[in-house]
Symmetry: C2
Subunit: 577 residues, 2 copies
């Protein structure tokens, strides 16, 4: 066993020096300042007490620093995984109850086990089943659902629901009970954060601050909103005026937590845990790869599975919730100059200190402020132009994307993603099941062959050259049979059919049987089947099969060779009768 593969920390820790430590610590301070409100907010989004978000931001970061391969990924609670956690736990228990919290712990542990096993068995390719349009549509729809779900905190009303329809309906019913103070704080924080996002950077640059630093400082606006509204709530006793605050948060570091061992619960949450794992993994890897490439570094997706898996195990066993790599935090970490995963470990120290010393203050934090930070954060997830881009490029991809979005919005996140995956696989198989086929003819005077429908080419009435632009496998084996049989019923004079195969990357057992059947049926009809331009690896397999032994015709290296051999007068316009 290669120890280094499983412990990427051995790659960088032995050469870790003071300069790197300084860079990592600076980045860690900035990430910590971002992470405190985010971890509280995403716990709230998941329906969990605020401290669960903090717990999920301590041990997982330390563990990822040991097992992760990205130098700059910032692991912790993220918006989409929190929404999926809430959706998974809703049928299990009432939000905030001890059974609900135990469910979140179990989800983290199961997700940890699944990711780690997938990493050990190198099953990272499973994430490939999530096509980009499906992931993109899913994240857009999740962002919309998350944003909508936070409106109740802005209005200060009771309203719950796990899809857009339920949420809008619930808010519509209860909007009469809006709390004015809450609304003022929520809208105020929201407006402040939006303005900060748009105008603070230019302002800071105007003050002579370097663009990169200005960028980073602008990202710390949420902590300012948190501090100001917390002070307001404390000073004006806003909880007595009906403003919902985070409330008492236990002080102190997380303790060891056992997940519930109820097997019924495990099987009930299995699909949710798998989806949270895979979605989180895909997001982490794409952020990690983007950042790594900028410095010509590499991440190892299979080891990333182990890094994220062990981080989730750490989160679960320390009373946390499912975690993964967050996009905005990782970018900030990268741009603030983090050089090694140690930066994450330092941020964990920051969060641990917050858990020890800041909890009395957090009690006064209005939930509306957290809701505003969530809403502003998720707007970056919503990518509606992607719909148009995908539509213009490919209708089938667009179909899968739209189905994902619509089902996520109107039904549930799980239905959305499952439908998206099923549809993209189905549409891909459908597309390859009717491959592009072209009858080709010779470009006069050359050795090249082109589609008769697109080019002015020489033909021979007795020999048809059919080019198939796809690997031959079970989904199109029957299509091939039908195409060739159509050919011979349409052309009664035909004596030879040449399958031109430069684009055939694979011939599976089904296609082999179809080729045998085609050969036999053509033979019954007095027509010989030939092949040309068969690729090396495909030919290697065909050798020794009965198909080649029974093939009525020949296998030609080039289509021109077949033309010369079968049409007799290779240099005339028309071949002999």
């Amino acid at each position: 066993m290669n120890v280094k593969r499983y412990l990427p920390i051995l790659d960088w820790a032995p050469r870790y020096g003071r300069d790197q430590a300084t860079s990592d610590m600076v980045a860690a301070v900035i990430v910590t300042v971002m992470l405190i409100p985010q971890s509280l907010a995403y716990a709230l989004l998941a329906g969990l007490p605020a401290q669960v978000g903090l717990y999920a931001s301590i041990l997982p970061l330390v563990i990822y620093a040991i097992f992760g391969t990205s130098r700059t990924l910032s692991v912790g609670p993220v918006a989409v995984a929190s929404l999926m956690t809430a959706a998974a736990l809703a049928p299990i228990a009432e939000a905030g109850t001890s059974a609900y919290i135990a469910g979140a712990v179990l989800l983290a542990v199961m997700s940890g086990i699944m990711l780690t096993l997938m990493g050990v068995f190198r099953l990272g390719f499973l994430a490939n089943f999530l096509s980009h349009p499906v992931i993109s549509g899913f994240i857009t729809a999740s962002g919309i659902v998350i944003g909508a779900s936070q409106l109740k905190h802005i209005f200060g009303v009771e309203a719950s629901g796990h899809n857009l329809i339920e949420i809008i309906h619930a808010i519509g019913v209860s909007i009469g009970e809006t709390n004015g103070y809450t609304l003022a704080i929520g809208v105020g924080a929201w407006a402040f954060l939006m303005l900060a996002r748009k105008h603070v950077k230019p302002l800071l640059k105007g003050l002579g601050i370097k663009p990169r630093l200005a960028d980073i400082l602008a990202k710390t606006a949420p902590i300012l909103a948190v501090v100001v509204t917390t002070l307001l709530a404390w000073f004006f006793n806003l909880d007595e005026k009906g403003v919902r605050l985070v409330g008492a948060v236990p002080s102190g570091l997380p303790e060891f937590t056992m997940p519930p061992l109820d097997t019924g619960l495990w099987s009930q949450l299995a699909v949710s845990a798998l989806l949270i794992s895979v979605v989180g993994f895909v997001e982490s890897v794409s952020v990690g790869q983007t950042l790594a490439a900028k410095r010509r570094q590499r991440i190892d997706p299979d080891q990333e599975l182990i890094g994220l898996g062990t981080a989730n195990l750490g989160s679960g066993f320390s009373g946390g919730m499912p975690v993964t790599g967050g996009f905005s935090r990782s970018v900030v970490n990268f741009e603030a100059g983090a050089e090694t995963p140690a930066s994450g470990a330092y941020a964990a120290v920051g969060i641990a200190l917050a858990t020890l010393f800041l909890t009395p203050a957090i009690a006064y934090l209005p939930q509306a402020t957290l809701a505003a930070t969530i809403i502003v954060a998720v707007t970056t997830l919503i990518d509606l132009p992607a719909l148009g881009r995908t539509y213009r490029y490919s209708r089938t991809d667009f179909g899968a994307m739209l189905a994902t979005i619509v089902l996520t919005l109107v039904h549930s996140v799980e239905a959305g993603i499952i439908a998206g995956v099923a549809l993209s696989i189905g549409l891909f198989l459908f597309r390859t099941s009717r491959p592009h086929c072209a009858v080709v003819g010779r470009v006069p005077g050359t050795e090249h062959f082109r589609n008769v429908l697109r080019h002015d080419v020489e033909l021979c009435p007795k020999v048809t050259f059919l080019r198939v632009d796809e690997s031959l496998y079970f989904a199109n084996a029957r299509f091939l049979e039908e195409t060739v049989l159509d050919l011979i019923t349409r052309e009664p004079e035909l004596t030879d059919v040449v399958l031109v195969c430069p684009a055939v990357n694979l011939v599976d057992a089904s296609a082999l049987e179809s080729l045998e059947a085609i050969n036999e049926r053509l033979h019954d009809a007095g027509v010989r089947l030939h092949l040309s331009e068969v690729k090396g690896p495909v030919m290697d397999r065909l050798k020794g099969t009965e198909f080649l032994a029974h093939l009525a015709g020949r296998v030609f290296l080039s289509t021109f060779e077949a033309w010369q051999a079968l049409t007799n007068k290779p240099d005339r316009m028309m071949c002999s009768k």
Copy 2:
């Protein structure tokens, strides 16, 4: 709407003449003689009263003659569909009860609706999801299970079960109660049929009968076994000696039957009905195509769906069971000279006459005789050498086949076929998710480029030519990113990467985004991305995308053009630094 498309009978009926009618009638007589014992036996196999098999062999044949496109397919009860019917109905009701019979009617109606709708919406391609190895493995395993399930009738014992383990166990428990008379009849009939299959043909030929006729006569052996054992049972009153007979069969034509309208039952049987439909369709089409090609005729798979669908509707509404095209009967029909589907309608008349006049005799038919005909018939389904052939050709196809066989044998037919389909799709996606990629170099002095690992070719240290032998889509988009990023981390001198794309038949939206990401990451690392030999349809799509607008490098028509442009000294062994 094209009436002729939906009514293939209009193709042949207007020109139907006396010669054709004579040929069709001769074939019909022979098929009827085969069909009587088969329809009784397959009803028995499905756990249904004998008359249900007869009912399923009347109206469906007439309807198929109107809507079917195969000239010679013989529709009716078949072994595998009967086994699947029994498996589907086992959890619903006790075999032979009225609820069970109503379930069979419902299965036929649902299967009819599904097939007809699939035909109208041209969804015949769905059948492609059943790869040949899965179908072949499934039929082999079904044959084994069917054969084993009939042993209880040969021994005359009570034993039930829906997979090999249950059946063997049940027979083991009850074998002590074997009935000697039943065993004698069963083994006698079995031996007779085996001998007939092997030796009757040569014997008849020796008597001067033409080979084709001898072949057909040999296939009528089952009716002889039926007649002889029925006479024995009647003459010696064998039912009083414990030999189980078919028993009283109601005389007369089938009546209109309504399927149960219980929605719970419909949803419970939906998956089974779909599997029966698809498996039946695949078998019918492959038999139909094989026979049609011998006469340079064509069948239309989408219209076949309508033909089989309406035949199943007819079967259900006349108190029958699921039907499809039978392999052996269709071959006999073809070889006996049937020229049009009218032959099937004539056979229906034969079965109707049998239902009217032969039922008193059928009451004395020993079940052991029917079991023997089933066992002999299904041995032709079992194709064990296919396992070896598939293993030698492709391990992945073999894996799907083996899983199908094992699950069908030890669990159930439905688990077997679902696992086979899921596995073949999964393995195909896995296979294409790690496509064959080769760094290629120039064959010295030519314009050709070949794999550096297989050939002695020219290279350039600053430019890498990477050929990808697969369409680019979501399952391999990430693999491509990793492959290219690996390349640039391994080769620090690299300035240009050329993706050589002659085998890329498709670039979906996921792969497009991956190409964008690759281009961007290479750009960040100071490397330009180029493409060469992009196919026409792929290029048509890429035009107008942001990827082409942002592409750091160029799109070259040929790889040689790229070589000339990027390596500066196209005719030297080494390119310039």
